[in-house]
Subunit: 286 residues, 3 copies
């Protein structure tokens, strides 16, 4: 617990982002994705652009095995066919058994019952990082507590308490996306103001970030807290998004340039341009 008592500084977040970006490029971590059919192509390209090795392995009989040998795993619930639901459970079990870090992205849970039940099953397996928008985080935190469904809430700060409670339950980190991204381990908070509204005008802008988090977790040295790896991924990704947005005439060009920008991203630029604030969750036992 003592590690969790020291709050990360804004500088340490930025330096971790730069360090893990370099480690991803040097080590090309195999990043195992079970993700939705809308974003598989873009997600794989984002991972390749940043230097990771994507592997979409989403069938029963292979997912458990592969999660055990991969560096990091992403489970995204966007379009969960029955086969992929079973493979997701396999992958989570394989990741937990092998100590592989894994990310849960509970897309559109709350209002949609099949994926909501699956998210509950996966939550109980303790994802290293949970990534979602405010509504999804609120819905996930409500599971097993009476299920209040999806709130029409858009600000990450409105979901800060729910995020902290989820993080305390899993022992991992929770990332809430928004104009200013909010990440927490239940005690500390990291806020990242980098990014561009065009990220919300392309499909998979958030889903691909979940995959980058899995790659950064997979490249992180032993002892690197999931909160720092997830924040590092968010920072690197959103700084690249700023590069991509500059001069883009619209979302099509932006999506293409984001791949170029991730590929060209300089670690020192991530540090220099970081807009990070850190603090403590209000009311958290410190």
């Amino acid at each position: 617990m003592s590690d969790r008592l020291r709050p990360p500084s804004a500088e340490s977040v930025a330096e971790t982002a730069a360090d893990l970006l370099t480690r991803v490029r040097d080590g090309s971590p195999v990043t195992h994705c079970i993700t939705n059919s809308v974003v598989t192509w873009y997600t794989a390209n984002v991972l390749l652009a940043i230097g990771a090795a994507p592997a979409m392995v989403d069938i029963v009989g292979e997912a458990r095995l592969f999660a055990g040998v991969a560096s990091g795993v992403l489970i995204n619930l966007g379009t969960p066919l029955p086969e992929q639901r079973a493979a997701s459970i396999e992958a989570a079990d394989g990741a937990v058994s092998a100590g592989t870090p894994w990310v849960l992205d509970p897309v559109a849970i709350g209002v949609l019952p099949v994926r909501t039940a699956l998210a509950a099953d996966l939550l109980g397996r303790g994802p290293s990082v949970i990534r979602g928008n405010a509504s999804e985080i609120l819905a996930l935190a409500g599971i097993g507590r009476g299920g209040r469904g999806v709130d029409a809430t858009s600000s990450p700060d409105d979901a800060a308490e729910a995020a902290a409670s989820l993080a305390m339950r899993t022992g991992g980190a929770v990332a809430v996306s928004g104009e200013v991204d909010l990440l927490t381990d239940g005690v500390h908070v990291v806020r990242i103001a980098n990014g561009d509204p065009l990220l919300t005008r392309i499909t998979g802008g958030g889903c691909a970030l979940g995959a980058v988090m899995a790659a950064f977790l997979g490249a992180a040295p032993a002892g690197c807290p999931p909160l720092l790896a997830a924040a590092g991924a968010t920072l690197a990704y959103t700084v690249a998004a700023e590069d991509a947005a500059a001069g883009s005439p619209g979302p099509g060009t932006f999506a293409v340039r984001l791949l170029d920008a991730l590929s060209a991203l300089a670690p020192e630029d991530v540090v220099r341009r970081a807009r990070v604030r850190t603090g403590a969750i209000e009311g958290a036992a410190r």
Copy 2:
């Protein structure tokens, strides 16, 4: 029936296109898509670019529910896995129960038996709009009448009678794509000459238009005939395609610029550049 007696003018088609484009951007209609695995990414990006909110919900246990709360629904039969076939029936039933307008795109029916049977089931549920090429519309019109299969016909005009007969059966509109798009409600005809051949050189050029039709239907005010909403979507989309094609060195750049152009499209340009003719189906009871 009296509404159907007044033929829409070319001006009203263009003005409806501009009005619905503005409504889509203002209201961001949730557009529920069950579409093929080839075009999910591009379709979602097209919807985001034009201002709608895409949601790919294609599993049993969620599709009926979601079709009831969405603004519009697209069911495209391009790669219908068993789960998606069942979800398509669910979604159509959910749309019909809730009064949600829905679009059927019967990709490649006629020669392929599984999707042809599915198309027959869906046709009986009365889609608001059917969208396809001439061969698909001919094949769909032949279902239940002896099934004459796919004709090697490429002109929308060759499918005008079949389209009109389908529209009379469903009470909705039918859109036949081609060099000049033809749309009919069984009595009136709208022909739209905008567009560019590059639309046929990218995958999903037609499939994404079906999604835009669902978004326009979802944004339309009460009483707007499906024929006008579908024609408005076609006009806005094909004018944007002209912008995207201008100066594009090839289909890759065109696909990217189409997203930019949809995002930048000005309603007044749609009106100004519309190449629309309207008339009556020959032999239709007027």
Copy 3:
């Protein structure tokens, strides 16, 4: 057997590439793909760009029928859902019955058991062309001989013997991708040094080449050996990749420009810029 005794010259490979490129554009061969969910969109766009007619038909009850009427078939094992595994067997049987040439791309076999078993089933049906990286070809050659799994081998030359043995078993050709692509029919070898490293920085760079091979096989005149058709596809594709890479700031732009370049590719440029060497498999009975 006498045909196999004459070694193809580098000139004949280049001229075949140019000839088949022209035939693809003139005849627009229907290319039936059962491929992975990550690359369907890009693969279809690559086929359209080069002039072929893609058709993704990957369900039971349609795949056998369609493989019988298509010009060429691709079966890629990247994300094989149960339905697609069954459809792959159907498609291979349909292709064999009808004499349709077909390509097998055994993505990531060796370490992953479900697709490895499927690859063994498909191998027994005699694909016209097998396409993979060195590890996949080594793994496939090991099937039924004790299964030595995946070697961490990256050079096509290390897999030359395995490729030749597979080709002798199937009577078709085997293509091993790498910095210099190696193709063999078990006796002769074609090496192609065109291409660009950016092809490995986008997802589906290799998968889409498998589809182009199916299109070239489908457009080839009777008697054209699979080795020449596959080499022709590789050459056309990698020359276009050089055009696309020139001046590309990163992988996103490269992926887009590759579609433009395939569309604009001049047959005479393929001949002029070909970097092809031909020879014999060492130790092959000549």
